[in-house]
């Protein structure tokens, strides 16, 4: 064993921040690549995989699952059928979940450091994020 406790703690943090950096970059990158793939498919085939509509309708379409999917089950179904808008939405939803994963990773890191207060704080943030998804049912 070499080095003081203080130095060892510093080294450990280094590895953990590296994991965090790796996660942050790659999770976003994968999501963006999927989004770009969906856009390219749309450009090449000219088919969204959903209802064919005019440009003004497309620019103002909201909450209409005939035009684009927005719940996870519809998205997975669309992706299996290789529909371009479903692929884009898969990338978008992955992107939206990257911060969930980041906080989850932080819970593990704080727990490993035996930092009880911050394990609880990070876990609470995670719960708040989950609650945000639940609140949608009061809006639709």
């Amino acid at each position: 064993m070499t080095g003081t406790l203080e130095e060892m703690k510093g080294e450990e943090l280094e590895i953990e921040s590296r994991i965090l950096v790796f996660y942050l970059i790659w999770s976003a990158l994968i999501a963006v690549v999927i989004i770009v793939a969906g856009v390219l498919e749309f450009l090449i085939t000219g088919n969204s995989g959903y209802k064919n509509i005019s440009l003004p309708q497309l620019l103002t379409a909201r909450g209409n699952s005939l035009i684009f999917p927005f719940n996870p089950i519809q998205i997975i179904r669309g992706v299996i059928e290789l529909k371009s808008f479903a692929i884009i939405q898969l990338g978008v939803i992955l992107l939206l979940f990257t911060p969930f994963g980041r906080i989850f990773l932080q819970i593990l890191i704080f727990a490993r450091e035996k930092d009880r207060a911050f394990t609880v704080i990070a876990a609470t943030v995670f719960v708040i994020l989950l609650i945000s998804l639940y609140t949608v049912r009061f809006l639709s």
């Binding site: 620019l59 684009f68 884009i88 708040i128 998804l133």
Partner: protein
């Protein structure tokens, strides 16, 4: 596929790229200009513009957060503690967005843009703040830390105060993020700088670390209610991301306050336009 659809797709990418570059050059996230650009230039309904913008905020924040964890200036403990309040605020903001009238959104947006200009033209808190003790919450959670300042060539230790008022301001920053689909970085920096008296470098980098998580709290709501339209959100996310990266690279080279002031004028014009929209004056 009809040609206008292709043209619009590229227009969306181009406009978002521009918003990303201007945002980065002005020291803002880039998200703050997306909604004005989409609503004013392309005629996208404001809820869809907000839905696309919040997605782009997450896209750009992950990359910058990674950079800030690496440079070890951002204070992850402070950031994690404060996102408790920004995420709660963001849920509230996203709810509010679904019930308030459109004019209210334009007006709030105009005001937020005006406030965002303040840190661009007037430098917030100078280098090393005066010495003070930790407040009780900061002491308990050991929020104080230190960072290496390359310019001064030494480590700078700092304490944290005003955690309560800082947290309250973070809730407001979260509400604005959820309501308007922005990262509300300027407000986070103001809260950490003014209330908690953190060194400005720590405030800006920690704010960037917090933006993605804050945005995620309302982005899920926008997505699941069907306000994230892939035809708009995809080109916007990609455009802003490329624009912000390019803007940051350019920023390192020019570093001039005059450039910032030029962009401040552009944002001022956009702010006035949004306010006029909100008041029902179409220009």
């Amino acid at each position: 596929m009809s040609d206008p659809i292709v043209v619009y797709l590229f227009m969306l990418v181009g406009l978002s790229l521009l918003a990303g570059v201007i945002g980065a050059l002005g020291g803002l996230g880039g998200g703050v200009l997306i909604v004005p650009f989409l609503t004013l230039f392309i005629g996208v309904p404001i809820p869809l513009a907000i839905g696309a913008s919040i997605v782009s905020v997450i896209a750009t924040s992950s990359g910058s957060a990674a950079a800030y964890v690496r440079d070890r200036i951002s204070n992850i403990r402070i950031g994690t503690f404060l996102v408790l309040f920004t995420t709660s605020g963001a849920i509230f903001g996203a709810f509010l967005e679904h019930i308030v009238p459109t004019a209210f959104l334009f007006l709030t947006f105009g005001i937020v843009l005006l406030i965002s200009i303040v840190p661009m033209v007037r430098k917030l808190g100078e280098e090393t703040p005066a010495e003070f003790k930790n407040d009780s919450i900061a002491e308990k959670l050991s929020l104080n830390s230190e960072y290496h300042d390359a310019k001064q060539g030494k480590n700078i230790k700092y304490n944290v105060t005003g955690t309560r008022s800082g947290s309250a301001m973070m809730f407001v920053a979260g509400v604005l993020s959820g309501l308007l689909g922005i990262g509300s970085g300027a407000f986070k920096v103001i809260a950490m700088d003014l209330a908690m008296k953190l060194p400005i470098k720590v405030s800006t980098t920690t704010s960037n670390f917090m933006i993605g998580v804050t945005a995620a709290a309302s982005a899920g709501i926008y997505f699941l209610t069907g306000d994230v339209n892939p035809f708009i959100a995809a080109p916007v996310a990609v455009g802003v991301l490329i624009g912000a990266v390019a803007g940051t690279k350019i920023l390192v080279r020019i570093r001039s306050s005059t450039v910032r002031k030029i962009f401040a004028v552009i944002i001022l014009a956009v702010a006035i336009e949004m306010l006029l929209r909100g008041m029902g004056v179409h220009t």
